[in-house]
Structure formats: structure tokens, C-alpha cells
């Protein structure tokens, strides 16, 4: 056993910021005057500033500009337009329509994603199941598949003419849905996202469950509580931080929804250029060359995401305090 083996990362906090600072095992050294920490931090800090902070600041600056065509050749010239782009975005029905679509999508998929992952984690964790290792692996494999490849594979399974799913349904005498139609394509994309992320969340929940000492629910088991009530009353509350962080990431990912619509738009005419806010911003920047307007859209979306994330974090902190008080 080496030092590194003893310090299994499993003991570390589940959520970023959930105690990394408070659980400092050893006191940081006071190396006053030493340049070493600055040298160690410098490469990351420089890249972070120029490739993380500066782009955001630059996008904000750009969102106050508009493009004016001048001269006979119509050369583009950037002018200051104040808040005009933001006014445009706030009154742009296409942007809000896309936003509502993403909200609807999230309202359906996030509970399924978290719920399904939780059920699988609890089942694999429960004493009654065999082949734990194989199940874990099978559920986690989709995470290794790039979203482009996942979407390519599923779009072949959605194809109306030669999809094995359609053929099987016909063979069973059942009607096959048009997976890529206007009313269904959103849920066909939801399926791809769920396929990628359920297993990932399942592993997060499973790791959190394994970190709980079994003695905690052994007593309840001896008292005759059913596995179901142990799961509901003891296990789920214990892994609430992991559930909250999974919910937070799922919500942020949903608001930024881009990859699946961008890739599936090739095979489905139901996906317009303004299908989701992020896809709309991309198309505005590339096809429309309206960088200012696209920046304003990205920033409005980022602000909404920040506010919602903040609400989720406050709410979960509130719930945690309530649980402690009880």
C-alpha cells in the first residue's frame, strides 16, 4: 500500500465547493517570498485568463456593436449600437420560442435522466443483484461515445426505410413512429442525450451510495424495513448532494443544448436554424455574420443559466439546512 493508494479519491467531497476548503487536512505552508507557487500557477492562470475570461469579456464588448455595410462593395464596419442588440434579443420571438422548447425538453428529460439513473444505481447497489460489475460497465459505455457518433448511430436507427427498429415494429404488427417528424424529433434527440448521460449519472450515484457505511441502514433492515423504504428514507437523502450536482449539470447542459440539433438537422427538416437558443446564436454568427447579435444571445442565455443555477444551489443549501435541523 502506497500513500497514493490510501488516499482514494472516493473520500473526497461530491460537489465542487462542498467543503474542499473546510476539510483542509493539513495546514498550507507559509512560504513567504517564495516564487514557487506563482510559477506553478502561472501556466494555468495565463491560459485561463486569455481563453476563458477574455473571450467572455470580448463577447460582452461585442454585444454592444452592430455591423453596418458601407460603400459600394458593402464592406462591413462595426459601430457602437448600445443596448440595441439586447432589445432585439428580448423582443425576438424566435429566441424565446427556442428557449421555451428547451425548457419543455428539460422539464421532461431531466427528471427521467436523474430518476432512471437513481433507480439503476439503487438496483445495482442493492444486495439482490448479481453481475454488478458487468451492468455498471454496460451502462457507462455510452459516455465513451462522442456525441457526433452517438447521434449518427441513433439517426440510422431512426431512419424510416431501413432502421432495424422500424422493421422490428412492423414485424410485430405495430405502427412505427416517424422518429424525425416535427412532433417527435425533439424526443428522439432527448433519447440520444439520455442514452449518453443516464449511465454517467448512475455511476456518480452508485459511487456516492458505496461511500455510505452499510451500518447506517443495517439497523433499519433488522427492524424489518423493506429495501424500498430503506432506499427512499435513508439512501436517497444521504446522497442528496450528488443528486443536486447531477441536476445542476443536467440543467446547464439543457439550456446550452446544441450538439444533437446541429447534427440531426442534416436528416430532419423539422429542425430550423432557430431550434434552440444556442443553435440560433451559432447560425446568427455563421450564416448571418451578425456577431453582435449572436454575442447578445449567448450572454442573455448565460445570464439566465447563471440565475437558474444560483437558485438551484440556494434551494439545495436551504433543503440541506432543513434536513440538518430535523
Amino acid at each position: 500500500m502506497t500513500v497514493s493508494d490510501q488516499a482514494k479519491v472516493q473520500r473526497l467531497p461530491i460537489a465542487p465547493g462542498s467543503g474542499g476548503d473546510r476539510h483542509v487536512v493539513s495546514r498550507p505552508s507559509r512560504m513567504r517570498g517564495s516564487a514557487a507557487p506563482y510559477i506553478l500557477v502561472a501556466p494555468f492562470a495565463l491560459l485561463f485568463v486569455f481563453l476563458f475570461l477574455v473571450p467572455i469579456v470580448y463577447a460582452v464588448a461585442q454585444s454592444f456593436g452592430g455591423v453596418k455595410r458601407v460603400g459600394l462593395l458593402g464592406q462591413a464596419q462595426t459601430t457602437f449600437v448600445g443596448l440595441a442588440n439586447y432589445q432585439g434579443v428580448l423582443h425576438d420571438p424566435a429566441f424565446w420560442h427556442g428557449f421555451l422548447r428547451v425548457l419543455e425538453y428539460g422539464a421532461v428529460t431531466i427528471p427521467i435522466e436523474i430518476g432512471f439513473a437513481l433507480v439503476l444505481a439503487l438496483l445495482v447497489d442493492s444486495a439482490v443483484v448479481r453481475f454488478r460489475h458487468a451492468y455498471r460497465l454496460a451502462f457507462f459505455l455510452p459516455y465513451a461515445v462522442p456525441v457526433v457518433v452517438a447521434t449518427l448511430m441513433w439517426s440510422s436507427l431512426y431512419e424510416p426505410d431501413f432502421s432495424p427498429l422500424t422493421i422490428t415494429l412492423h414485424w410485430l404488427g405495430l405502427p412505427a413512429p416517424d422518429f424525425l417528424g416535427p412532433g417527435t424529433v425533439l424526443w428522439s434527440m432527448a433519447n440520444i442525450a439520455l442514452w449518453i448521460w443516464i449511465g454517467y449519472n448512475m455511476i456518480i450515484f452508485y459511487s456516492a451510495l458505496r461511500a455510505v457505511p452499510p451500518e447506517i441502514y443495517e439497523a433499519a433492515r433488522i427492524d424489518g424495513s423493506s429495501e424500498l423504504s430503506i432506499a427512499w428514507r435513508i439512501k436517497i437523502p444521504l446522497i442528496r448532494p450528488a443528486i443536486t450536482i447531477a441536476f445542476l449539470f443536467a440543467m446547464i447542459g439543457t439550456l446550452q443544448f446544441f450538439n444533437e440539433p446541429a447534427i440531426l438537422s442534416v436528416v430532419s427538416s423539422a429542425i430550423g436554424t432557430d431550434y434552440t437558443p444556442n443553435y440560433y446564436a451559432y447560425n446568427t454568427a455563421f450564416s448571418g455574420r451578425q456577431y453582435g447579435y449572436a454575442s447578445a444571445m449567448s450572454i442573455v442565455l448565460a445570464l439566465i443559466t447563471t440565475v437558474l443555477s444560483f437558485i438551484v444551489m440556494r434551494w439545495s443549501a436551504h433543503r440541506a439546512r432543513q434536513a440538518e435541523a430535523r
Binding site: 500513500v3 506553478l40 439503476l120 462522442p146 457518433v149 451559432y282
Partner: protein, 290 residues
């Protein structure tokens, strides 16, 4: 207790049967597209349309598909594969080194700006790569970096999650007493990091590398906005370009898209199977959502 649970598993109550059924059906669901792509990679272009998608046709065409894949359009697939290795390999190596250095410094030293950096890192973990792609593109087009290798490689070297993981790991596993002892022996601070601490942190180094490697390998939005010359594309963008031409070209290279998809996931699945321990430890301490 163990005897009791053994007894339980030998009798299949309705509840246990239900549990096994749910897990079995879920396994089929998660493996279905992977089975499809594996089976389909062995089929000729004609058989892809004329035979049932989830079973092999009589004609095993995997090797001729692979041959055509690597020779099509002047061997551009090889180019994409090498580009992906470059972006993911060099990008993840850089990100891992910088994140480990920074995380270690934040855990083991108190210096001007350390609290601010720690806070910024935690905030940045929540920012998804898709949200950053357009701002990065605007900036890159301003400094004339678009359509260069650097435009994809440099942003891939920033991993706030890696810094967070490294910091937490260093706090828990690098003992201060050992650093003090090394100082008394006359080692310089940087020598202590590179000769001693880095070795102790090697498990988290592997974890950070794996997560960043997969994140770059899977990234779609950033190369999509940055690159216009298909000679610089990674695999994902190249496959998507081929996919786009399918609708107009009447599916003549459909088998290449399928075989290319299959080959592009084989290395990642292999990495998963052989390095499971590192995935679990990374996920257990927070995890990422691409």
C-alpha cells in the same frame, strides 16, 4: 448477514425478478446502438440497406470497408485520426500538467490571489464547453487564429475541473511533514513538486488526463466553429461532414460513415475497459458534464 443475503438470491421473489428485468432491459437499451454499429461495420454498402440492421449478412466486409475508409479521398480519414490524436493527446497532456501544477500550488501554498483563483476555478467548472465556443471563436477571429491547429489546441489545455480535482487530491494525500523534511534536506520548492509530490499525485494525474482526453475527443462545437479547412478536422467533425453529404450523394459512402464511427469509438471503449479504476475515482469526486 452474508448467509442471509445468499439465501435471498437463491429464491427469486417478484421484486428481485423485477429488478433483474429492469437491469436486463436497460442493458439492451444501452448496448443496442453499439451492437448496431459493430454489426454494420462488417457490411458492404448494399447490405447495409438490404439486410436486417442487428444481424450479420453473409458477406463479411469489415476489412474491405476499412481499406476503403483509409484510401477514400486521398486518405483523409487517416489525417482526421491523426488530428484527433494531436488535439486530444497534446491538449490533454498540457491541460493535465498545468492543472496538476496549479491544483498543487492552491492546496499547499497560501499566496496572493490563491483564494480568488480557487473561487474562479469552482465557478468555471460549471461553465460547459458549448457555452464558451462562440466567445472563443469571436476572439480567435479578432486575433486571426481561426482555422489553425492552435485555435482548437489552446482552449483544450484549460481544465478548471482538473485544477479542482488536483487541489482536492493534493490536500488529502500530500503530507506537509514530508514537504518540510524535503525542505530541510535543501530541496527547492519546484524540485519537491516535480520529484516527490507529482509522484504521489499520479493517480489523479491519470484521472485528469483521461477526462480531458475524452472531453477533447468528443468535442464538436469548438472545432466546428474554429476550423474551415477539412485537413485540420478531428474525426468527429470529419464524420459529420461525410454524414452531411450522404443526403445529396445518395448514400454511396454510408459504409464509410459507419465504419469510421465504429473505429473512432474503439480506442475510447478500450481505454474505459482497461482504466476503470481511474474513471471511478474521478467521477466519485465530482464528475463532469461535457
Amino acid at each position: 448477514m452474508t448467509r442471509r443475503s445468499k439465501m435471498q438470491t437463491s429464491f427469486w421473489t417478484p421484486g428481485q425478478l423485477g429488478a433483474q428485468l429492469i437491469l436486463l432491459l436497460s442493458t439492451i437499451y444501452f448496448l443496442l446502438p453499439l451492437v448496431w454499429v459493430t454489426v454494420s461495420a462488417t457490411k458492404s454498402n448494399d447490405d447495409l440497406f438490404s439486410t436486417f440492421g442487428l444481424w450479420f449478412s453473409g458477406n463479411f466486409a469489415l476489412f474491405s470497408n476499412i481499406h476503403r475508409l483509409f484510401t477514400y479521398d486521398g486518405g483523409i480519414f487517416t489525417r482526421w485520426a491523426l488530428n484527433t490524436l494531436l488535439y486530444a493527446g497534446v491538449g490533454a497532456a498540457g491541460a493535465t500538467l498545468f492543472a496538476t501544477m496549479a491544483g498543487y500550488a492552491l492546496a499547499k501554498y497560501r499566496f496572493v490571489g490563491s483564494t480568488a483563483i480557487s473561487a474562479a476555478v469552482i465557478g468555471a467548472v460549471l461553465v460547459p464547453v458549448t457555452a464558451l465556443a462562440l466567445p472563443l471563436f469571436f476572439l480567435a477571429s479578432r486575433v486571426h487564429l481561426v482555422n489553425t491547429y492552435w485555435s482548437v489546441l489552446l482552449p483544450s489545455m484549460v481544465s478548471p475541473l482538473g485544477v479542482y480535482l488536483a487541489r482536492v487530491y493534493a490536500q488529502a494525500s500530500v503530507p506537509d511533514e514530508m514537504l518540510e523534511a524535503a525542505r530541510i534536506d535543501g530541496s527547492s520548492e519546484l524540485a519537491i513538486f516535480f520529484r516527490i509530490s507529482l509522484r504521489i499525485m499520479s493517480p489523479v494525474v491519470v484521472t485528469i488526463f483521461l477526462f480531458q482526453f475524452v472531453a477533447i475527443w468528443n468535442n464538436f462545437f469548438l472545432p466546428l466553429v474554429m476550423l474551415s479547412d477539412d485537413g485540420r478536422y478531428p474525426l468527429t467533425l470529419g464524420l459529420q461532414t461525410w454524414n452531411t453529404t450522404l443526403a445529396t450523394s445518395g448514400h454511396v459512402i454510408y459504409n464509410l460513415v459507419v465504419t469510421g464511427s465504429f473505429l473512432s469509438i474503439v480506442p475510447l471503449i478500450a481505454a474505459f475497459l482497461f482504466l476503470q479504476r481511474y474513471w471511478r475515482s474521478g467521477i466519485a469526486s465530482g464528475g463532469v458534464v461535457g
